[in-house]
Symmetry: C2
Amino acid sequence: MVNILGGKGANIAEMCKLGLPVPPGFTLSTSLCSDYLKVKSLSVVLKNNIKKNISKTEGVVEKTFGGSNPLLLSVRSGAPVSMPGMMETILNIGLTSKTIPHMIKMSKNEGFVYDSYRRLIMMYADVVMEKALGLNKSTQSIRKLMEKELESVKKYKGYKNDSNMKAKDWKALSNKYLRIVEKEFGIPFPDDHYDQLYGAIAAVFESWNGKRAKEYRNFEKISSSMGTAVNVQAMVFGNLGKDCGTGVAFTRNPSTGENVFFGEWLPNAQGEDVVAGIRTPHPVAGNNKKSLSVAMPEAFKELNSVRKKLENHFDDMQDIEFTIQEKKLWMLQTRRGKRTGIAAIKIATDMVKEKLITKKVAVSRIRPHQIYESLLKNIDPKDVENSLPISLGLPAGPGASCGVAVFTAEKAEELGKKNKKVILVREETSPEDIHGMHYSEGILTSRGGLTSHAALVARGWGKSCVVGCQDLIIDKSHTFAKIGDKKIKEGDLITLNGSSGDIYLGKMRLFQNPLDNTGPLSLLLSWADKIRKLKIRTNADTPDDCEKALSFGAEGVGLCRTEHMFFDEKRVHEFRKMILAEDRESRNSYLKNLLPFQTKDFYKILKKMDGMPVTVRLLDPPLHEFINIHGKEMRNLADDMGLPLKAVEERVDSLKEANPMLGHRGCRLGISYPEITSMQARAIIGAAVKLKKEGNNPKVELMIPLVSNLAEFLNQKEIILAVKNDILSKNGLNINFKIGTMIEVPRACLVAEKIAEEADFFSFGTNDLTQTTFGFSRDDTGTFFPHYFNEEIMLADPFEQIDRKGVGKLMKIAVKDARATKNKISIGICGEHGGEPNSIEFCKILGLDYVSCSPYRVPVARLAAAQVEL
Amino acid sequence: MVNILGGKGANIAEMCKLGLPVPPGFTLSTSLCSDYLKVKSLSVVLKNNIKKNISKTEGVVEKTFGGSNPLLLSVRSGAPVSMPGMMETILNIGLTSKTIPHMIKMSKNEGFVYDSYRRLIMMYADVVMEKALGLNKSTQSIRKLMEKELESVKKYKGYKNDSNMKAKDWKALSNKYLRIVEKEFGIPFPDDHYDQLYGAIAAVFESWNGKRAKEYRNFEKISSSMGTAVNVQAMVFGNLGKDCGTGVAFTRNPSTGENVFFGEWLPNAQGEDVVAGIRTPHPVAGNNKKSLSVAMPEAFKELNSVRKKLENHFDDMQDIEFTIQEKKLWMLQTRRGKRTGIAAIKIATDMVKEKLITKKVAVSRIRPHQIYESLLKNIDPKDVENSLPISLGLPAGPGASCGVAVFTAEKAEELGKKNKKVILVREETSPEDIHGMHYSEGILTSRGGLTSHAALVARGWGKSCVVGCQDLIIDKSHTFAKIGDKKIKEGDLITLNGSSGDIYLGKMRLFQNPLDNTGPLSLLLSWADKIRKLKIRTNADTPDDCEKALSFGAEGVGLCRTEHMFFDEKRVHEFRKMILAEDRESRNSYLKNLLPFQTKDFYKILKKMDGMPVTVRLLDPPLHEFINIHGKEMRNLADDMGLPLKAVEERVDSLKEANPMLGHRGCRLGISYPEITSMQARAIIGAAVKLKKEGNNPKVELMIPLVSNLAEFLNQKEIILAVKNDILSKNGLNINFKIGTMIEVPRACLVAEKIAEEADFFSFGTNDLTQTTFGFSRDDTGTFFPHYFNEEIMLADPFEQIDRKGVGKLMKIAVKDARATKNKISIGICGEHGGEPNSIEFCKILGLDYVSCSPYRVPVARLAAAQVEL
């Protein structure tokens, strides 16, 4: 009943059913939240219901709310989905000038009572009066003011810790807090127990529409209509004395996944003390004499048995909160424990071994991105233990990075080109910084949020990135920055954890989990492989890429971009001459120079992928990138081509295009210059023939790019078949290969029925298809995408996740029409979406045969493809 | 039976049926052509059939083929569609060493017989032996060799004209021709009458697959499978003596359409003499003493009655050929007369008045492009009469142009910018010349055909253009050119007729037919208006455009591009400041400066179009065009904005995009800078309110550009509605207007169902939709489109004619889905296709409500829209 009771409320109810010790109370359902938000007040009916339930609670605990044996209450929010950062809690409700004397009498501990009272005042002032009612007009938060007050008392009295505070100190502080509330807000702190309770409940409802909560929901795509539940429970106290305590724990290690009880506790404390970090908490388990197992063996024994009951009941690792009041254990909360990717995988596979869950459940439980995360670079945990972050920003691009700080894109490019690892530090980034970002290991900004330019670009490129670090002040000279009193000069080493947002000074060791063949990830993926039906290929341009992808479980190459083979310095020179050739004859002679390179490349790749399909895309070079040459480079080229410099310059100029994305590329190039297609076909088929002669089993698929009608495809196919016939007549060896096309412009989808008559396979190039379907140039979205996300015009980046309603509709037309022509035509996807789980699901719905993605995404895709089947 | 008999054959048969005097004979049907082409020889069956028909003909004329009263034959091609330039004719077949003496005896005119014989030898050698059999190995054509021979005889003898040639001269020449044939081709001229006949028939069939014929069919999109028919008829002779003659005539004036008999004849001549231009022909009608009506009144009378019979029978103006042999009139051919656009319109409207045809037939008979042509610039006919073209090229871009010759694109741009009228003269053009072509009145090239770069660009831009003028030799200095011995220096005035291909030296007067309200065009269009259901609007950016379009019959404005209002020098400065503003505040202040301009513009346009719908597109500026500024201009701007030069330079740089076509434009701009949308809405609604207060009836339609999802549309709609409410609350005047969107990216079509929920109208922007559907940037197609047309990968330019299979499929989806949501939603088209007849037909099929096109295209669209209904 999570949707009605919220996560927290539902789990409390489950714990009750299990007979675990839970403080009595009740939950206000989520539907009451939307009722409240409509009228902004609690109805009479609701108030009566609350009163009824209070009296039931009073019956169980044998105390009275506002009475002489006073029942104190906690009020806590609990939405159906976890929303950290919006959770509001108010404790100790019911402490008033009337009940305080009774409490002192009952507890025989005046210090405890006034400590509890000052906590109530602070929480209530913060959550109800400042945040919900918006009473604070000053720039400083009420919480800050009150914390300062406590500090000044401690300083004045010379106390080191809160525990040094005497009863009279707490009492004086409470009175001071009451005065602060009245002064700052203009109204007094409510001294009626029901006023406190209703105020707290309304404030929790109100918090559902708070700024932070809305932002979080937007980002996580959570519906606004759910609302939050409110949990009202009798207070239990971990700070009543030495036989009390409080703690939080995970039923297994959330970082590594090891099956050990992992938690912390503090004697004589309330929950927030453990989290706040003022006192150093002790471990729950272990032999340390301060550990709960040694200090309170009975309570620990019960807690440990609760731990097992919970895991058995929920079949999952739990994150629990508990309080021990006068030796009695109370369970305050249990929930699914958050964990790192590595831990998630370890726990799931362990639980299968423990027969707690089935393999299918294990496979369905891991979020695909956790696999990706588990393969990302991380900071060595030992280095993390020994270092304190100097600040925290928003975690915008997962993974860790370490390098020298630079403050301009130019410097980043300059050093990056020299293979120096750099972290680009900027106030915010803009499209002009792109070239520098490209050369950076990591990116750190002082402004902007999770959808800022820096964040978008970094995630697009898989770069480590921390944004919106408000402590970071970059000097206008762009030679140094400051975080607090720490100075970071250009060239100083810094380390970012893009998964947490932590920023560290100095160099830290980074490591990357290898995909251990015998480890939990391999085990999990082997189960996934048995479930999934979609094949997983990889986008790989070199034998090294293939090697890596094979180790990650790729079942073929879905996209080998031949132009990437020419980025090598020696080859690029020959390639440029070919591009710039002014006539067919000289182009042919340059192509002849390139033929041996290409044949060797394809030989190696096909050998590496022996027996698996390898889709080679014919040349689709971004011409403007290849000929971005000047000065000496240009002169060398001219000399080498035996042409005047001016002629080469003119030719370079003539190749510049208004919109290169929509220009002379793909098969258009092969149609204008058939000799290029011919050379490539010769290299690919030649390599395959050589391998076949050597007893191998090459499976070649030639892919013609950017086709928008059948005639284009046929033109190129005929060139390839002519080369085939020529080679085979010389070799007398028959070789089979497929000729297919990339479907990457809308028109290709619309005439798929015709193209399928001649094509052996289709592969969706969803990057370009997204660009043309929306009319967005990916290189130019930086200027308007931030507005689009801010204004909620787009909820997901269509370059990340397939836009099902637009691009997806075209894909659907293409698949349906192509299969109508040729039932068995092989159809896959090789755009970057091929490694994104939501898109993989869509590919399955469409009935594709395979997805192809970058090597690191292959394990993610293997899991996602299995989950689609479940 | 045109498909079986060919055009010529079918019309000859019609003339027979009408009882007109036609030389007896028969027609070989088109299906025999494909039979022949399969086996490349005439079958025995066919030969027998030919013989049978010859004997029938012999019976009628009472002569014998190859006999002592010899029947001579003509063999003429005749395809089902007119194919000028491939028509082959061989006359006088049957003249052999055996029949010549009989002919001399019969005709008592040896000169006539040998003249006829030498004509036969030359035609046969040319058509059969050289072209069909390919016997000639030399570079000079046999025809040229023979013509030279005749010239040298005349020169030697001192003859001025062919008519001075004596019988013995013709005889000697015939013998010389026989020797030339044997020497050049290695085989003798056939002396058997059936050899001659079969050779001629086979050659005509063969000519169907000749190079010229194939090229013509490709260009005119005529199917290759039709084949040509062959007409075999008894010869009649216009050159038997003074009571003979031959002529060609149009039943009405083909240039002006006037209902006068318009033709030329020559006494004592064969048909080719009239066409060849060696002797100056005389008029057919009129009082001139050399006119046929005076010279042979009887024959003329009969011819004039034939003229009327033919017009009555065919209901159309005819182009006829006739021969008079010994005072007897023979009709050789009749066909639909080609005519200028102006003539076509005049003839059609006259024929309605004459009750020859109905209004519907008149409307359906005019080709829409003839309307366009009739509105193009033409050379003053008087100037044409007084000038001889210095050369002829291919007519690649209709309309005339006159200006100074320049030989580089740079010079064209330089002078063009100074408003000098220039003609760009190049060997051929390439994309680098585009900037110069833009500034040229006309374009002339020495190389390339009707689909060359120059031709494509010129037609795209509606520029006058002549290509492939082989006589034109451009000096390498690019300062002058030569045509024959005529020198054209840079700066010399030349005149082009892009509709005929004629090139003239010097300045000629150009004129443009005004759309006379009482003239034939207005009359025709008024009939069209009653038939058509599609509304015709115009694309107009200024009050002047509106004025022009109204005079052409526009029924509203379908696209008013607001960015074009800023091209004015004074405004562009303010506009640039607005674009370059770094924050909202300064942008707002610049926008305030622009508001009065805009309000005034809209006021004028709406007033001009009072009572008609005016669709105003919100700002969609090509930013890179607006900020293409340097040097002083940039400094002025910086000074004016109070910013350092570097800041402005940086901002200009930051606005540069990788693919501006797919960049920060359209509604994306309005979403990033809502203040721009707001200002424009204020100007438009403000202008409308003012007009309404003044008692006018403004009908405003605000159009949001480049929408790809509903949220974009809503974002902009809300801004507009807020402005509306603000203005109305101040004015207290209610005003209705529509808010709609341009459908110009594929995704908009795919989610039309959603967008239609909120949009009042759709307007297809088919230019951009074509670009994104194909992934073609129109600016960059110059590099590969020529290959695409050469290789027949595309048969029509999708930027000219809507690509029904791709772009059209998207449009269909959009219309269907939008209407499913909102049955009555108004849908139109405002891309350049809106004025193209084939596309207009498609719009009708789709069920659109209106098309919108440039003012000059409005009459074309009015007619095309009517024809769609017929």
